[in-house]
Amino acid sequence: MTLSALNADVIVDQLNAGELKATDCVQYFLDRIQTHDAEINAFVSISQTALEQAEAIDQRRKAGQTVGCLAGLPIAIKDGICVSGQPTTAGSKMLEKFTPPYDATIVERLKSADAIIIGKTNMDEFAMGSSTENSFFGPTHNPWATDRVPGGSSGGSAACVASRLAPVAIGSDTGGSIRQPASFCGITGLKPTYGSVSRYGLIAFASSLDQIGPMTRTAKESALLMSVIAGFDPRDSTSSKAQITDCLSGLETPLNGIRIGVCRNQFNDGLDQEVETKINDATSVFKLLGAEIKEIELPHSQYAVAAYYVIAPCEASSNLARYDGVRYTFRAPGNDLEEMYRNTRGQGFGNEVKQRIMLGTYALSSGYYEAYYLKASKVRRMIKQDYDDAFQKVDLILGPTTPTPAFKLGEHAEDPLAMYLADVYTVSANLAGIPAISVPVGQSKNGLPIGLQLQGRAFEENTLLRAAHQFQNVTLWHDTSPSQPWRTQT
């Protein structure tokens, strides 16, 4: 078997067993990036030191020294997460030449597990988008059909895992930015509980919604990455001291007796027929696995997108105020300070980012706070309450990740609302702070992946991953690769 067909846990086993050298492993993926990324554009930058690090790990293994639990495993990181001394752009011209002097906490943790950061992946500018078309560095292409979007904002991470330019990747999810591209690219993506993975070093889009998570081919790989990146961080005030339960050890526990809720009012007009069919098929699989399927209500979920498009832009308008041409690389000249501000922000931000800053600024401005931010935050309470009620009756909630499979590049360029509705099933989990995972459950007739979303109780990532893993034990969708030149040989 070639390396591109191996799962990360197998690669780590082979590295530990001495069957594979870290340098060979890293070189293999660097070569794949070299060969295929021109067509996919998953990466914004490639690490110049990855081989050196792999060399050091091989030396340490040879000398019998202890190494971390991911020693030698290449990993791609979304470019909105700071890696010390490496360019970190958040997909924006504003940060084109920004080099953070510090590591994000998750990067620190991955480094101390001896994982090797192979490159930084493309994304919608400041994570604002659902297609990775809003990147200063050009759009990423979906490996299943290069005229289609990979989803977003973590489209680079999703595409690179789907095309095996890296075994695993890290993304971030504010309204679906891990799950929606995972769904579009036929991989597994987990948005953890708010507060379970440190946000320190994640370039903020909307702080109360942002969460970092793994993007992998299998649930087991996601569990492996979670065991490294999750946990309390004193540098992030919103980081939770309530530890998530160990995700790895319970994976093989059968699903007998687990209660899975299905919210039928989400299966509405907007939902593509093919997607609905695949979700229903997958539901039957869960039944066969021993799950009890129950109907539930989430009466306020229909307002989630509206609430989200108030709250996220409000927070973003403030979070992005720091890009003013004074401290971080990009400045457009002006005769006085105010002119410099306006020119820098007018030229440094792309259209979608400007549009959302405008919306957020408007919604927070004097006289509108109650009508928008406060009202949306009250609706957010109702959405959270719905979940609290539902999780009294069920352990997981099942549904589609996205209403449709991947759409064409440029398809929604002139219609922001249509684009926003790509998040219709994913934003609620961010608003409520609960964990959710997308797993591949089939393909459309024209060969595009379809994803299923499971949502769980706060800090019960273990249940989500277990259910996804049990599903993957009896299905092959996660093992299916795009029929393209970068298709993996098995």
């Binding site: 903020a204 403030s318 105020a321 401290r327």
Partner: protein
């Protein structure tokens, strides 16, 4: 004229306005005081708060607002805020949260200031001040709230008007400030100064801030307007906020100036609070005048909202009790103690208390040791404070311990040393850091034998018959001359004893 924007919609001067006298107007003043809390690290990061270091040498990814960096609140800043709240009789919030105040300025790295909007750490309270014209009479100034926030950095603008770049230093960025806001209860510039002095004293007493005004550790904005009686009603002039006052003198002078200016402006154009928005002015120390500050039209739209990077802080009753228990006696109580327990007059008590807690402690220890608080007050109030001032020392650095000082005073009280000799001994003690006994020895002071004193007096009476006659004729003051002569012959002779003896011998 800088106020042309106001005159455009003004009314012509009217006779009833011109008939009003400035003295009829009541000045309404509210203060917003920014106090730098005495922490070693900043409010949300571990950078030092030390003043005067090289520009931009005390910053990190958090306080420069580097993308991805996050704030974590400093425990001590919370504690000091609670301590201040208790000292100012404020209610302390059981739950307090953080909000973002959004505005653009180059010395505000994140584009927002982390502050507190609707749940300040300290709620309503009050501070009693002495009415400046009538000592001993107290007036209550209500505190509206006190909230915790981060300071901005420092902008150094080009003063040459050549349009050179401004320089930004972010060392001060993120330093913890407590913003104390009063109700508009202050009525005169002198009261404003009295309020600030008392506040500064309290903050010193409770070790919350050194309030060093030169370093900007206590800064003040004053909101000023006038209530003017006009016919059967009363009008209010537009409120002016005088920004960034950094000395007591500038507070006093700017308010005085501003009141007069508002009165004249009102007489001229008649605009009231309903006609004009709040205006921001600065104090020009050079011109001794307030000047209109150019402001952006949107500057007041701060778009406050809860900071999603920070979580709420709950404060437990037990924590407040604990801080309350540790709280030292405050100036007001101490003044009362000095008057009631140590029998000082109010002025003397205030003078001692105004010197800070160290001097009060020193005084009480000496007064307790020598059982004569008035003498202790005289000596500490005059000699010790003068010596400290001359040597630019604090009481903690004073070379004599309260015990050593008490020894000296006891020798004065029991008559072993007269005042003059006592002061000589004190100087000797301070100069060589020695005890009273050692100083007495070094100065060669010996007690004078009773017989020696009698023969000295006999000698004086013999040699100064005219003076003796004058005394006998009823000129009591003339005895001083004889005492002086006696001291020339024997410096150790106690003037009191000589006086008593001479009086007795002469009257016999």
């Amino acid at each position: 004229m800088e106020d042309s924007d106001l005159t455009s919609s003004s009314n012509p001067p009217s006779n009833d306005r011109l008939a009003v006298q400035f003295n009829d107007a009541e000045i309404i003043i509210g203060l917003e005081v920014h106090v730098q809390l005495d922490t070693i690290s900043k409010l949300f990061c571990g950078c030092s708060t030390q003043f005067g270091e090289a520009a931009n040498s005390q910053t990190c990814v958090v306080c420069t607002g580097m993308p991805g960096a996050l704030p974590v609140i400093n425990q001590r800043a919370l504690e000091l805020s609670i301590r201040t709240g208790i000292a100012l009789n404020c209610s302390i919030a059981r739950s307090t949260k953080w909000d973002r105040k959004n505005y653009f300025y180059p010395d505000l790295p994140k584009g927002y200031q982390i502050s507190q909007f609707d749940q300040p750490i300290c709620g309503p309270g009050h501070l009693d001040i002495e009415v400046p014209e009538t000592p001993g009479k107290l007036r209550q100034i209500r505190i509206e709230r006190a909230h915790l926030e981060e300071d901005a950095g420092k902008s150094i603008h080009d003063e040459s008007s050549l349009g050179q770049d401004s320089k930004i230093d972010l060392n001060r960025t993120g330093t913890p400030l407590l913003e104390i806001v009063t109700q508009p209860d202050i009525r005169t510039a002198a009261e404003a100064k009295a309020f600030l002095s008392e506040l500064k004293l309290i903050l010193n007493y409770i070790d919350v801030s050194d309030c060093n005004m030169q370093q900007g550790n206590l800064r003040c904005d004053a909101n000023v307007n006038l209530h003017i009686p006009l016919g059967d009603h009363q009008i209010a002039t537009p409120i002016v906020e005088i920004k960034n006052l950094n000395s007591f003198r500038s507070v006093e002078r700017s308010i005085t100036y501003e009141a007069q200016r508002q009165f004249e402006a009102w007489q001229e154009h008649g605009l009231t609070i309903t006609d004009a928005p709040k205006q921001t002015r600065g104090w020009n120390d050079h011109a001794q005048a307030t000047t209109l500050q150019r402001e952006k039209e949107d500057s007041a739209d701060y778009r406050y909202f809860p900071d999603p990077d920070l979580i709420a802080v709950t404060i437990k009753e037990s924590q407040i009790k604990q801080i309350q228990k540790q709280l030292v006696q405050l100036p007001t109580e101490l003044r009362k103690t000095l008057v009631e327990q140590y029998k000082l007059n109010p002025e003397d008590a205030a003078a001692i208390v105004s010197q800070g807690r160290g001097v009060v402690d020193y005084f009480s220890e000496v007064a307790d040791g020598c059982q004569d608080s008035r003498i202790a007050n005289n000596w500490i109030g005059q000699e010790v404070l003068r010596q400290l001032k001359e040597s630019n020392q604090t009481i903690q650095q004073y070379p004599l311990s309260p015990k050593q000082f008490t020894e000296l005073l006891n020798l004065v009280i029991d008559g072993t040393l007269d005042q003059t000799r006592g002061k000589e001994v004190l100087n000797e003690m301070v100069e060589h850091s020695i005890s009273a006994q050692q100083a007495i020895e070094q100065l060669g002071i010996k007690p004078v034998d009773k017989n020696e004193l009698v023969s000295l007096c006999e000698k004086l009476i013999d040699e100064n018959q005219e003076v003796v006659e004058q005394i006998r004729a009823g000129n009591g003051k003339a005895i001083g001359m004889l005492i002086g002569k006696a001291r020339k012959i024997n410096p150790n002779a106690n003037p009191g004893a000589i006086k008593a003896l001479l009086s007795k011998m002469i009257s016999q």
